[in-house]
Point group: C2
Chain length 329, copies 2
Amino acid sequence: MANIQQVAKQAGVSVATVSRVLNGQNTVSSKTRIKVEEAIHKLNYEPSMLGRNLRNSESRIILILIPTISNPFYLDIIKGIENIAISQNYNILLCETDSNPEKENIYFDLVRKKMADGIISMDPAVNVDTLKKLAENHAIIQCSEYGEDSGIPYVTIDNEEASYRAVKHLIKIGHSKIALMNSDEKYLYARQRKKGYQKALEEHGIAVKDEYIIHTQHLGFEYGQQAMKKILNIEDRPTAVFAVSDLLAIGALKEINSNGLHVPNDIAVVGFDKIDFSNMTNPTLTTIAQPMHKMGTIAAKMLIDQIKGEKVESIILDHELVIRESTSG
Amino acid sequence: MANIQQVAKQAGVSVATVSRVLNGQNTVSSKTRIKVEEAIHKLNYEPSMLGRNLRNSESRIILILIPTISNPFYLDIIKGIENIAISQNYNILLCETDSNPEKENIYFDLVRKKMADGIISMDPAVNVDTLKKLAENHAIIQCSEYGEDSGIPYVTIDNEEASYRAVKHLIKIGHSKIALMNSDEKYLYARQRKKGYQKALEEHGIAVKDEYIIHTQHLGFEYGQQAMKKILNIEDRPTAVFAVSDLLAIGALKEINSNGLHVPNDIAVVGFDKIDFSNMTNPTLTTIAQPMHKMGTIAAKMLIDQIKGEKVESIILDHELVIRESTSG
DNA sequence: TTGAAAGCGCTAACAA
DNA sequence: TTGTTAGCGCTTTCAA
C-alpha cells in the first residue's frame, strides 16, 4: 500500500504536486502530470480517505436514521437519497434506531465525533430536543417525519390532507361506518392523519365515534391483524377501515379474510404509503402514494447544501390517492 | 469544537494523558483522570474519529454488498451483522450494487481507499475475480452467496439439500408434475437448487422435464407472475411449483389466484427464504427458512476476525422446511 | 509551474 | 505516573 510520499519519490516530484494531480488541478504541466500518473499506476497507489478526511475535516458520510429497515416504506426514499449522495461523492450510513434513544445516541455520536457530516432523520420517535441541540453544530434534515417547531428543515407531505382524501374516498363510495387504524398519537403524523379523518367525517355530517379509532403500537403486519380483530368485535361493525400504514392494512386484509369476510364487499380497506407489497395482496390495496424517491432526493440535496453552509427551506410535497381493488368491488 | 490540545491545556496536562483517559488506560492517577474529565466536560469535547482513524489506519466501517434492498430476504442478515458490528464498535455501510459492476466498483474503491475496513458480500452477481484480487489485501467474507473456488471464506446453507427437501415434500404429498421456478443459472445457488430438484425427482423415478423448468431474470414479485403465466400455459400443466425465492412464489400465488385456480388444491406452491410477508399471503406460503440472523452474526464475526488478521474458516449452516397452507389443503 | 513546510487530531514509543 | 515528540496521509499556503 503505497502512500503519497512514495508516489512523489517515484515520480521525482514533491507530494504537493502529486496532490495537485490527484485533485485535478490545472496548475500542473502535462509533462509532470504524466510522470505522476505513471508513478501512481506503477505503485498501484490509492489515495487514503483517512488522510484526506482529516485534512479536510470531513467524512463524506451521511447518516440516515430510520426506526426499522423492515418497513418497505423507507426503501424508495433511501434510494433517492443514495442517488444524490453518490453523485456528490457522499456515502450513506443506514441507521436503524428501533426508536430506541440509546441506539439513537450511538448514531448521534457519530456526527459529534466527525465520523459523519450530517443526518437525515426519518424516525418519528426521535428525541426532538437532542436533535435540536445537535442541529446547532451539525447539518440535519428531517424527512417525512418532523418535529413541529424544531426549527430543523424538513421535507414531507401534507398528512392531514392525504388522510382527508382517503377517508373522503370511502365516504364517496358509500361508507359511513369508517374505522381509523392509527398508530400512537405521540407521533405528529398520527395526529395529523387523525385530523384529516375527522375533518372528512365531519364535513359529511358523520359523527366521529371513539370506538372506531384503534391505536397500534407499531406499524407491522401483526399489529394490523390484532387491531383488525378488535375492529371486527365492535358491536356496530365498521364497513371500512383506513389504516395509516400499508403494513397495518395488509394485516387487516389478512384478518378479514381469515374471518370469512370479503374485501371490499364486507369491509373496504385503505392503506398508506404504496409499498410494493400493497400490489401483491389479494385484493390489491387502495393506498396513498407519497413521492418517496423525490422526497429522498430533495432531502439529500437539502442536507448537502446545509453541509456546505447554505441555508435551506422546508418543503411540502404532493401525494396521490391510488384506488385499487380493496375499495372497488 | 474543542480538540485534544485544548482539553490538555484546560486540564493542565499533556495530550498524551488526555488520550490515555480517553482510551480508558489505567496508568493515569485518579486525581489526573478527574481533572481531565472535568476539562472534557467543561469544553464539551468530543474526540474526533478523523484523527483517531488516521492514526490507527482504520475506518471502523464495514461494507455490506447486496444486489438490492428491496428483497426482504436480506433484512435479518443485515440485522445480525449490525448486532455484532455495533458491539465491536464498527459501523455499517449498506451498499446496493443493483448487480451493476460500475456501482460495485464505487464500493470496492471505498475499501481500497481505506474508507472501509472490510466487506461482507451477499451479491451473487459480484465479479469474483475482482473480489479475489481485493481479498489479497483486504478482509472479505461472502455471505449466503459465494464464488465456488474463490478462496474467500463464506457462510451459507446447503442449497442443494434445501431444495431437495422442498421438492421431496411436494412428492410426498402426492405431486409428480412439479415445476421449478429458478433464477438465472449463472448464479451458483441457482445451479445448486436445480440439482436438489433433480435429485429429488430422480430418486422417486420421476422424469425431469425441461419444459417444467422456468428461469426468471430477477427475484421480484412481477417476475414470479410472468413465470407463472408461462407455467399455466404448459400443456401438461404442473400441479406444484417450487420457486427459489419467496418473492417469486408470491407472484406465482397471485397469478394462480387471478386465473381462478386454487392453492394448494389446483396447484401447490413452495417458496424459499421465509421472508416476513410469506406469512401474510393467502394462503400462507410453505418455504425454506435459512437461519438469516445467525448467518449475519457469523459473517460479521468472521469478518472482524479477519480484519484483526486471524485466519477464518467457511461455515455451512442448517436450514428448515416450514410447511404452511400453500402445500396443505 | 513547482516545492517546502505546516498542520488537521489523534496515539504510542520513549524518556523521565 | 506523566510528558515530549514523531508521525499516520493528506491539502494548502507561501515562497521561489
